[in-house]
């Protein structure tokens, strides 16, 4: 199987996973679950973005740039996570 095809299939699986997590989060689950769901959703988004950068945009050919992109993206997602936690009533 070609690398790009494998990347596409992984992206489909990750997209399905994040939507599935979201639907679980909307149920009336214990207080800690919404926070956990948000963390998983942001983690999956980071993984999808990294795959698109590495395989679709071919940054895998330039490992130093891919590392830099992954790091900056991770810091961005952590900032989003911080804001998400700040807005989550059950975070305390």
């Amino acid at each position: 199987m070609q690398t790009i095809t494998r990347a596409w299939l992984i992206l489909l699986a990750l997209s399905a996973a994040s939507t599935a997590v979201s639907f679980n989060v909307t149920l009336q689950l214990p207080a800690q679950i919404p926070l956990l769901g948000g963390i998983i959703i942001l983690l999956l988004a980071w993984a999808k973005a990294r795959i698109i950068a590495a395989r679709y945009l071919e940054l895998a050919q330039a490992p130093a740039y891919l590392r830099g992109f992954s790091l900056v993206l991770a810091l961005f997602m952590l900032t989003l996570l911080g804001l998400y936690v700040a807005a989550t009533p059950f975070s305390g």
Binding site: I4, T5, A7, W8, L11, L12, S15, A16, S18, T19, V21, S22, F23, V25, T26, P34, G37, G38, I41, L42, L44, A45, K48, A49, I52, A53, R55, Y56, L57, E58, L59, Q61, A62, A64, Y65, F76, T79, L80, L83, Y84, A86, A87, T88, P89
Partner: protein, 185 residues
């Protein structure tokens, strides 16, 4: 001391440097928008959750699959162009563009539903960001479709790589917009 071409750091980047400058610029703009969205959400999480309940997560999830698949076809088009397979390149571009139109169809159906409910950008800060970010993204999808049409006319490997990179940027932005606007509770 002489310096060879490969010593230049930007030479390692695949594709055109100007396209990378555009990609980084666009990511910064959308990134700032998402940070602002999340920052405003802190002031009214319950209101944002209620507003978000009016969105169709399933439709947005389908749109993610549509766009990711379109990106895959665009990437395949680049491979076909590099192999000199012009007809296959055009078919892959046509399919990628077709999925781009499906994405827009679902998106504008969503907008029409919101309009029918009387939901406008000024209804709630959530919708201000929703319309601004997804609308700006949809404008990029339209631009991408125009680029696909131009690429189909002149499907050279270099044109394909640059044009597909723009589409992948659109893809990349969506996989960040989708979870933040539609999924985070």
């Amino acid at each position: 001391m002489t310096q060879t071409q490969t010593d230049q750091p930007f030479d390692q980047l695949p594709g055109d440097l100007m396209m990378w400058i555009l990609i980084v610029s666009e990511l910064l703009v959308f990134g700032a928008g998402l940070l602002a969205f999340m920052a405003v959400r802190v002031t009214d999480p319950a209101g944002f959750a209620l507003a978000q309940d009016q969105l169709h997560r399933s439709a947005a999830g389908i749109n993610t699959v549509v766009l990711v698949t379109s990106g895959y076809l665009a990437a395949r088009a680049v491979g076909y162009a590099n192999a000199g397979r012009i007809a296959a390149t055009r078919w892959a571009l046509l399919a990628a563009g077709g999925l781009g139109m499906v994405f827009l169809g679902i998106k504008f159906t969503e907008y029409a539903e919101k309009a029918a409910l009387g939901i406008r950008p000024e209804t709630h800060p959530f919708y201000t960001f929703y319309y601004l970010l997804t609308g700006f993204h949809a404008a990029h999808v339209i631009a991408g479709l125009v680029i696909f049409a131009l690429l189909a006319l002149r499907p050279t490997p270099r044109n394909l790589q640059v044009g597909a990179a723009f589409w992948h940027m659109v893809d990349l932005v969506w996989v960040l917009l989708f979870p933040v606007i539609y999924l985070l509770r």
